[in-house]
Symmetry: C2
Subunit: 341 residues, 2 copies
C-alpha cells in the first residue's frame, strides 16, 4: 500500500445485490484520488458490474470469493460452513495488511464475527462495540451534524464498568474524527441523572469517567435525552442500546399512526397529515440510523463500517468516505491513546 | 369497611396542590355509590377544599397528617425525617385495613418506599414492580384500548428470571382486570425475537414463561414493537423499562422538531405542521403515559396507584376508579393464583 488508503468492500450480501456496492466503490475511486478499493466477492459479477460504470481502474482490484452469507442467516454456522465467504475473505485481507479498513452491507452478525476472528482487539479493550449514528434535535460539532452516536448497540450482554469506559473512549474518538467535534459531550445512559443511579456497573463507570482526562464526561442522561441529543456520545450496554435504537427506528411510523388514531375526526388535522405525508416518508429515512455513514465496529486494530443492508451506491460511497477518514486520522491510535489515560 | 371499596388518597405532593386531589376524590364519591374515600394530608387544607365542592359527605373521611414529601426530594431521607408524612400515614391506613388501596400524585419513590415499608409482598413475589400504561398503534382488549402495559419501569436493577416471570403474571392479571382483555398477549423485551437472545435472565425467563399455564406468552419482542403495541404486556427489568418509557415520553417532541429541521425549506410541509400544531400538543399528552389511570405498583398485598404529578381532578378520579376496579376484582388474589401455577 502506498500513502493512500485502501478499503476492502465485501460486495455480497446487501439487499440491492453486488452491483450497488461495486457502483458505490467505483464512484469513490473517481471522487477520492487517495482511495484504492479491493472488491471482494463473486469475480464474474464484479467484473460485469464494473463494465457498466465509470471507475479508476488503477485503484480498483478484484478479489474473488466463491461464497457469501445471506442476510437472515445465523452468523456462526454460516461462517463455519463457508470459510470462503466474502466477508471472511475480506476481513482476512484487512488483517493481513492488504487493506486498511472493511466495509460491508451484508449480515451484521457475520461481519462482527469475521472481525472478531481476524482482527485484534486494541490493548486495553476487552470487547468491541457496534456503534450507531442516530438523528437528534440538537446539532453537533463543527459540521453541525444533527446526529449523535450511541454504543454499544450490538448483542453484547453483561458489560463491566471498564467496558463502558472503553466504549466512552472509543465513541469520543470516533465523534472527534468523523463528526469533527473537538470535544464531544459523552454521557452514560441511566435511569436518572444522579451519579448513584443505575446498575452497579453504570454507577462504577460514572466514577471512573469523572476521573478520566481527555473525555468531556457530562454525567448520566435518561431515555428522553437520546432523541433530544443532549449528548454527542451516549454509552450503554448492548442490550439497552439495541432496545433503544430499535425504538428510535419505530418512532416516526408510530407517532403518525397515533396522530391518525387520535385525530381522525378532525378535518384540519387530516389535511395537515396529508400535506406531511411525503415528509413523513423522508422522516422515516432520517430516523433510519444505519443510512448515515454506516455503523462502525470499534475496539479492533482495524475498522469495520457496517453499511445498511438497503444501501444504494451513494450510501456505500459514504460509508467508504467515513472509513477512509477514520484511517487517515488514525482512529485506532487515538483510541489507544485515550485508553492509556 | 362494608361491602364497598374504600380508597386512601394521599392529597399532598401533587403539582396542582391538595385541592385538585380533594376535588377528584369528591367527584368519585358522587359518581360511584360503592366507593368511600379517606383523605390523608393537611386537615385544614382538606376541609377548605371540601367546602368548595359537591361531595357525598357520608363516604368521605379526613385523616390529618402534619407533614409531606415534596416532588423533587430524595425519598429515603425524606421518609426518615418525616414519619408523619401523608404518604406514610396513608400507606399505614391501607396496611391496617382501613382502606383497600392507595392513590397518590406525589413523589413516586416515596410512594413505592412507603408501600415497601407497610405492605406485604404477595407469596412468591420477590420484588414489586412499577408498571406503566403507554399508548400504542394497535388497539387492545374488549375496550379497544390504545394502550399497552410495560413493567418494571421502576428503579429495580439486577432482576432474576423468576422476577421477570412474576412481572409477567402480575401484568397479565392487571391487563385482564383493568383493560378487560380476557387473554393479554405477554412478551419479553429483548434484542431479538429468537428465544436464545438477550441476557441470561431473559433467556431463562423465556423458557419458564413458555411452560407457564394461564399466560398467553407470545415470546420476545424488540424495541420497535413497544410503540407498535405488538404485545399487551411487555416485561423487562426496571432499568431497560425506565429508559424505554422515557424515550416514549420524548417521542412527539422530537419527531416534530426533526420534521422542522428536515423540511424547513418546504412551504407545504410547514403549512402541514402548522395545521397539526394543536394536535401535536394533544399528542404529547397522549404519549404521557402517567396520565392514563396512573401507574400501578404491583406485587404487594395492597394496590398503590401512582397518579401523575400533574394530575388534575379528573385524572385523580380516574386513578381512583382504576384502583376500585382492581379491588373489586381481587387483583391480589388473581396474581397469587397465577403465581401458584
Amino acid at each position: 500500500m502506498d500513502s493512500g488508503v485502501t478499503l476492502a468492500f465485501d460486495v455480497m450480501g446487501g439487499d440491492a445485490g453486488p452491483e450497488e456496492v461495486v457502483r458505490g466503490a467505483a464512484a469513490l475511486t473517481l471522487e477520492k484520488s487517495d482511495v484504492s478499493v479491493v472488491l471482494v466477492g463473486d469475480g464474474a459479477a464484479i467484473d460485469a458490474s464494473l463494465g457498466k460504470v465509470r471507475h479508476q481502474a488503477e485503484r480498483i482490484s478484484v478479489h474473488h470469493a466463491p461464497d457469501w452469507v445471506r442476510p437472515g442467516e445465523k452468523p456462526g454456522p454460516a461462517l463455519e460452513e463457508r470459510p470462503s465467504a466474502s466477508i471472511l475473505v475480506a476481513a482476512k485481507l484487512v488483517a493481513g495488511g492488504e487493506a486498511h479498513a472493511l466495509v460491508s452491507a451484508g449480515n451484521t452478525g457475520a461481519g462482527v464475527l469475521a472481525c472478531a476472528r481476524h482482527f485484534q482487539l486494541l490493548p486495553g479493550v476487552r470487547r468491541a462495540a457496534l456503534a450507531a449514528v442516530y438523528p437528534t434535535h440538537r446539532l453537533h460539532g463543527e459540521k453541525q451534524d444533527p446526529f449523535s452516536l450511541i454504543l454499544d448497540v450490538g448483542a453484547t450482554v453483561g458489560v463491566t464498568a471498564e467496558d463502558l469506559v472503553g466504549f466512552a473512549v472509543m465513541g469520543s474518538a470516533y465523534s472527534r474524527i468523523i463528526s469533527r467535534n473537538p470535544s464531544p459531550r459523552v454521557a452514560l445512559l441511566s435511569n436518572g441523572t444522579e451519579p448513584q443511579k443505575g446498575p452497579p456497573e453504570v454507577v462504577a463507570a460514572h466514577q471512573l469517567l469523572r476521573a478520566l482526562p481527555g473525555i468531556q464526561f457530562v454525567g448520566n442522561v435518561e431515555g428522553v435525552d437520546i432523541p433530544r441529543g443532549t449528548a454527542d456520545v451516549v454509552v450503554c450496554d448492548g442490550f439497552v442500546g439495541n432496545v433503544s435504537l430499535k425504538m428510535l427506528e419505530g418512532i416516526s411510523e408510530t407517532v403518525m399512526e397515533l396522530a391518525r388514531y387520535a385525530y381522525k375526526e378532525k378535518v384540519l388535522w387530516r389535511a395537515g397529515l396529508a400535506m406531511l405525508s411525503s415528509g413523513i416518508k423522508r422522516l422515516k429515512d432520517l430516523t433510519d440510523w444505519e443510512q448515515y455513514g454506516g455503523a462502525p465496529v470499534l475496539g479492533f486494530d482495524r475498522l469495520f463500517i457496517k453499511a445498511h443492508g438497503r444501501s444504494r451506491a451513494h450510501a456505500i460511497s459514504n460509508a467508504g468516505k467515513v472509513a477512509a477518514r477514520a484511517v487517515r486520522h488514525d482512529l485506532a491510535g487515538v483510541i489507544q491513546a485515550g485508553l492509556k489515560a
